[in-house]
Assembly symmetry: C2
Homo-oligomer: 561 residues x 2
Amino acid sequence: MQNNAQPQGPSYKIDFKCSPDAYRHWKLKFADEVAELVMDVDENAGLFPGYRLKLNSYDLRVDIELADALQRLRFEHPEAKVVVLKSGKDKVFCAGANIRMLGEAAHSHKVNFCKFTNETRNGMEDSSQHSGQKFLCVVRGTAAGGGYELALACDQIILADDGNSTVSLPEIPLLAVLPGTGGLTRITDKRKVRRDRADVFCTVEEGVKGKRAVDWRLVDQVVPNSKFDAAVVEAVKKLAATSDRPAGAKGIALTPLTRTIAGDSIKYSSMKVEIDRPGRVAAITLLGPTAAPPRSADAIHGESAQFWPLRLSRELDDAILHLRLNELDIGTLLFKSQGDPVQVLTYDALMTANASNWLVREILNNWKRVLKRIDVTSRSLVTLIEPGSCFVGTLAEIAFACDRTFMLDGQMKGDNRSAGTITLSPLNFGRYPMSNGITRLETRFLGEPESVEKARGRIGQPLDGADAASLGLVTETYDEVDWADELRIFLEERRSFSSDGLTGLEANLRFAGPETMESKIFGRLTAWQNWIFQRPNAVGAEGALKRYGSGLKADFNPERV
Amino acid sequence: MQNNAQPQGPSYKIDFKCSPDAYRHWKLKFADEVAELVMDVDENAGLFPGYRLKLNSYDLRVDIELADALQRLRFEHPEAKVVVLKSGKDKVFCAGANIRMLGEAAHSHKVNFCKFTNETRNGMEDSSQHSGQKFLCVVRGTAAGGGYELALACDQIILADDGNSTVSLPEIPLLAVLPGTGGLTRITDKRKVRRDRADVFCTVEEGVKGKRAVDWRLVDQVVPNSKFDAAVVEAVKKLAATSDRPAGAKGIALTPLTRTIAGDSIKYSSMKVEIDRPGRVAAITLLGPTAAPPRSADAIHGESAQFWPLRLSRELDDAILHLRLNELDIGTLLFKSQGDPVQVLTYDALMTANASNWLVREILNNWKRVLKRIDVTSRSLVTLIEPGSCFVGTLAEIAFACDRTFMLDGQMKGDNRSAGTITLSPLNFGRYPMSNGITRLETRFLGEPESVEKARGRIGQPLDGADAASLGLVTETYDEVDWADELRIFLEERRSFSSDGLTGLEANLRFAGPETMESKIFGRLTAWQNWIFQRPNAVGAEGALKRYGSGLKADFNPERV
């Protein structure tokens, strides 16, 4: 597979920073408690050359804007109880991921593109469940493939009964790939379509419309044109009644991130990234707060996007995405921190005390999503707990997301910073579930639930190397004599392994225990899709993705594997 | 990837029929309530030329014998409460799957080999949970990779504390593939090894031994040589006390299957397979019983392996495995049946009434496993309910395992057989759970549990087309005018799709709802492994599987996907 659509050149090609004034593909409109999120893709504004985004098809850029819009809906529009997702085009809702883009993209780009779009759609469901922002999808025209998958991420789908509007998942008949942006999982597990009907639906290129779409639970309502607007109004009203968005709250502006890129380092306001290219390692250093936290929810509101936990979560999210998409050869992320543990704990306490405040809720939800993004990042994840670090509560959660956590036990000669510790806060015990539905500590201690309780008993206490090790919170502790050598050996060893082997290993070991619809999307569905994305029937010169639109039929190897 | 190890020539190359007198790799020994299952692989008796099965490494033939031995332990040895799994070699327990075999096998063979070995190991856990046959694994020497995965399938693992005996999963450091025979799932979900320790364990080529192996929950006990035999005796005693194997029962002989292969058809005593090679379809016709069932458990015992439900389940298993491994281009399995529905229902009633009898329990467990084997068979599965068919209870379960079920409504002109019906029995409501832990009807009606109850209310009643359709038990009904055309169109359409796309589609749509350790093995773990089995880092000319043992290190693309 050649990488045509994603140039290998400059590292910062794909930028996740985004703001509404730069949107090319989406429009946001507001009226009281209702927001309209209008998809109106500019076919000439694709992320890469070589394809046009016809028929509201999308590429990663379209989804970066969507993710940005969702963040703004959460933070800037507390009044928006219902988001009406609709198309700005006449006869099409959305044609799904752009096929030419997919056909020409490198394998890694396909995989990363799908992962990000999955995260964005999971984020819509997260908004609905945890931010009280309900999604109504209004489908006029065709919602095909990724277009229908976008609809599936909404709470409700209303389909026009006009003889033209349909929903479909034509990936199998047209492209020989899966509806891999959650489609296969959501039809069976969310909408609970009967499996044989789902099989029919996924093999009927033209899709399903009208009454059958309702009978099969593919949509919630079909409504003729004459009654359509009234039905939407009615559905909005009902959905709004289920929302717990705050009354009379004023949103905060998600101001642009502070970010300076210089060579192999990236500086944000509250963290930095340093890339060791020969070592294939990126060190991400989180910087603790420089001042005491504000003293009330109002004061948090006053700090708005500058409030340290929010600022850090946004910057961390940007860095992770950048590394995923633009730094493919960086195999290991090393998380470090610097700051005053007491201050970090105070911030966690402030958020815990104000957890029911709408803005704090959004900040905590954002951390939850960023942590989940780390969980599914296919790089080896390592935390280093060193003197002067501040892995406390929310930041300690990053250590629990990692494949390994190493702790330097004691101080370093000639360094007067305090020995590294780890401190738990109440936020480690439920506020940040993983995609498997349980916390990182519960996942870690699946075989010894009593260890979770033991850890809970130590909330707020700085745990040194001996304590952290005996509580099972770190992988290894080393003294200063061994520290550098042990790290060097570990990183060299990691670098010697197959990148793909590690991806598979980590994708399995990180998710012990239960599965949820969300974890099934990243496990079962994504893994099969990635396999198909390697198979000649899809991506070979005579495969369906390559031949789509060429007038030639794909030439399939019939062998069943 | 070239297929060197698996010749494409004669179709019946891989035969799943097996009996102890032909074992080359295993020995079974019996003493009272204890059976010894000794792995002693003959390195010169590989299934294909080109490799030697050194160090108790295994290929599919070794596993076919193992699966056969497990069946005999269940049916022929009701007295065996504990199975002690051990090695017949001096310094090695088992080195895992043979690497040269894996390196040279076609992708499809790798995948099918792993699937079968997974089924066999799941079967050991099934024996423990549902047949009262407990497995004690006695490890002296190294248990590496698939060797340790075999141990993981046992209830308990005792490791010798002799400085030499170790357990390891060296796939990542040595071969760039996953411990894909359940290993990654069982260490986190069954033995509940802490995830960072699991990560360490899977990257340490030499493995773990002694006290650490117990501390990390990798084994249950380490015992020095001087106390080893006594510890085994003690463990056997304790395990035996947890067994509910019957006292004083006499086993039945699993006599050889009756099978005649002629061209593209295979005849068994209670079913036949007919291959339509241009259509890429295999029709599997199940034949109902030719006589009324015996009247008691004793009489069932008298019929032994000739008892129709047992005979059919064994034959069906053989056919499915044959088609999977030897008929790769056959994309669709069409299940049909012929027989008297009333007779089949009587057999189900007999088994239900005697469900606690040890032999009947084994027969039902066997059906459960065969049905699960159908669920994970990567072919499109279709049931045709036609006049004269007998899809009743246990046989109806096959229809519920299928991607589509078509029913001919009414009789056929010039055919005096009764119109096809479907009849439910109590066995459809719990005795045959899928790997996701719930029944096929519960999976089917995930969105409408009331439909399961509605169906339950109709147990024992022959349901015609209208009834079956209104109860949601079939996909479509057609009358005789449309039947042939609709089928033809469906099969042509199915044939036009990408084989790989269908594999991924079916692997997702069939398993709605919850996941279990077993379904995670076939979903998450297997799908990732299959992806890796396509990646150049593993299987390319410079990949780890190809270069293993060549003295050259693998050359990896560092790109993280």
